[in-house]
């Protein structure tokens, strides 16, 4: 009897479901995602908008130790790519070509700043000793390679690859990348050496302000007073120190990727490194111009280390007086005919 009751109950449930189920089945007229009750069944489910309110990127879950591979969506990457492929080449071209054009215009306007001869002409004074010149040239030679290989990151595929083909460009770009990463180390060491060597002569003071107000001798005749370094040279020093430090920090972040930053930080480092690098190159172009073509006698300071005393008197009169006073009172150069030599 009990078994018959169970059987009957089961049959009743089955019949009820068989009749009722089609009524609850999806209506073919009903739109997808909308149930007959008028509610959207996926409305409360997790979506991108909800996840981005909690974090700037959407991570997943992975089983390999490389946790950065778990990032599924990082929208800032699109902004980074737009900068890298869109803005950066234009910024680079405008700043660097603009500086070359400005220097060319200045050369046409002012011409080469010639040495002013006096009775002191022909005598030499030591401006930079051997270690100072070694430090300068180690940093400078690395900077030139770093600049060219750095510009290759931006312009190589646009300018070089169409000329030499993708295979040659690939090999060249790979060697440029090696030189960029490895010569960064002597460059950083050189910047550190220069900072220690020359900071005492590069502290800004009132003489610099007077030098700037007088146009630095570039405009008009005559030379304003200057100690060992004038305000322009101090500007170059602090540019190299500041930009050198910034390039070192951001460069180290890229040599050791993801060591201290996430993907967003890596993108920021690349943006900072590239923008500062471009301005740095433009600034050093001006430094190279004035130290070679732009001013007669200036190259000797870093060439042989000794400059014409008349040139030194015209451009760094306070330093010459200081050196002559030191030499006259010191025993180190006794017997030398030329002061401070």
């Amino acid at each position: 009897m009990r078994r018959a009751t169970t059987l009957l109950s089961t049959l009743l449930v089955a019949v009820t479901l068989g009749v009722a189920a089609p009524a609850f089945a999806q209506n073919p007229i009903q739109a997808d995602g909308v149930n007959p009750m008028g509610a959207r069944p996926t409305a409360d489910s997790v979506n991108e908008e909800f996840l981005f309110k909690q974090d700037s990127k959407i991570p997943g879950r992975i089983s390999i130790p490389d946790q950065k591979a778990a990032i599924l969506i990082q929208p800032q990457g699109r902004e980074y790519q737009a900068f890298r492929e869109g803005w950066l080449p234009w910024i680079g071209a405008l700043v660097i070509l603009g500086m070359i054009a400005a220097l060319g215009a200045f050369f046409l306007f002012r011409g080469r700043i010639m040495m002013e001869h006096s009775q002191e002409s022909g005598k030499k004074i030591l401006r930079f000793n051997a270690f100072e010149r070694f430090t300068h040239w180690m940093t400078a030679s690395c900077f030139i390679i770093l600049s060219l290989s750095g510009l290759n990151y931006i312009f190589g595929k646009r300018l070089l690859m169409p000329l030499i083909g993708p295979d040659a460009f690939g090999a060249l770009a790979q060697w440029a990348k090696y030189s960029h990463v490895y010569l960064a180390w002597p460059f950083m060491l050189g910047v550190a050496f220069m900072f220690v060597l020359w900071i005492k002569d590069n502290i800004p003071n009132k003489i610099d302000w007077a030098w700037i107000k007088a146009g630095g001798g570039f405009i008009g005749k005559g030379h304003p007073h200057a100690a060992r370094f004038n305000a322009g040279q101090k500007g170059v020093f602090w540019m190299v120190a500041g930009f050198g430090a910034a390039m070192s920090v951001t460069g180290l972040m890229m040599i050791f990727p993801f060591a201290l930053t996430d993907i967003n930080g890596m993108q920021v480092m690349q943006v900072v490194h590239s923008v500062i690098g471009i301005v740095f190159i433009a600034g050093i172009l001006a430094h190279i111009y004035i130290g070679s073509l732009g001013m007669e006698g200036a190259y000797d300071a870093m060439g042989s280390g000794k400059v014409d005393l008349a040139w030194a008197r015209a451009h760094h009169d306070l330093w010459v007086e200081q050196e002559q006073a030191r030499t006259a009172s010191g025993p180190q150069l006794k017997g030398h005919p030329a002061p401070a030599e």
Partner: protein
């Protein structure tokens, strides 16, 4: 001139030392992040795509995707 020559030699020497120091501690991602339970395939040689800008070609998804793993993969562990 001596200072310049010494500077160039020193730069190259330091660069070579940096190369040895860095390469000794570097491994490819597919080597560094593979475990006994997870294989990370070598991504190939050109991760930036055929136009070197990271963007796909318009017809790329109809043909072979860039960055496809090339070469012989490691044998999966049987257990």
């Amino acid at each position: 001139m001596k200072a310049f020559a010494a500077a160039v030699i020193a730069a190259i020497t330091l660069g070579v030392l940096a190369m040895f120091a860095l390469t000794s501690s570097q491994r490819f991602a597919y080597q560094a992040f593979a475990t006994s339970g997870a294989r990370v395939s070598e991504p190939g040689t050109n991760l930036v795509g055929p136009r070197w800008n990271g963007a796909p070609r318009p017809d790329e998804f109809e043909s072979e995707p860039h960055g496809k793993a090339e070469g012989e993969g490691s044998h999966p562990k049987r257990s």
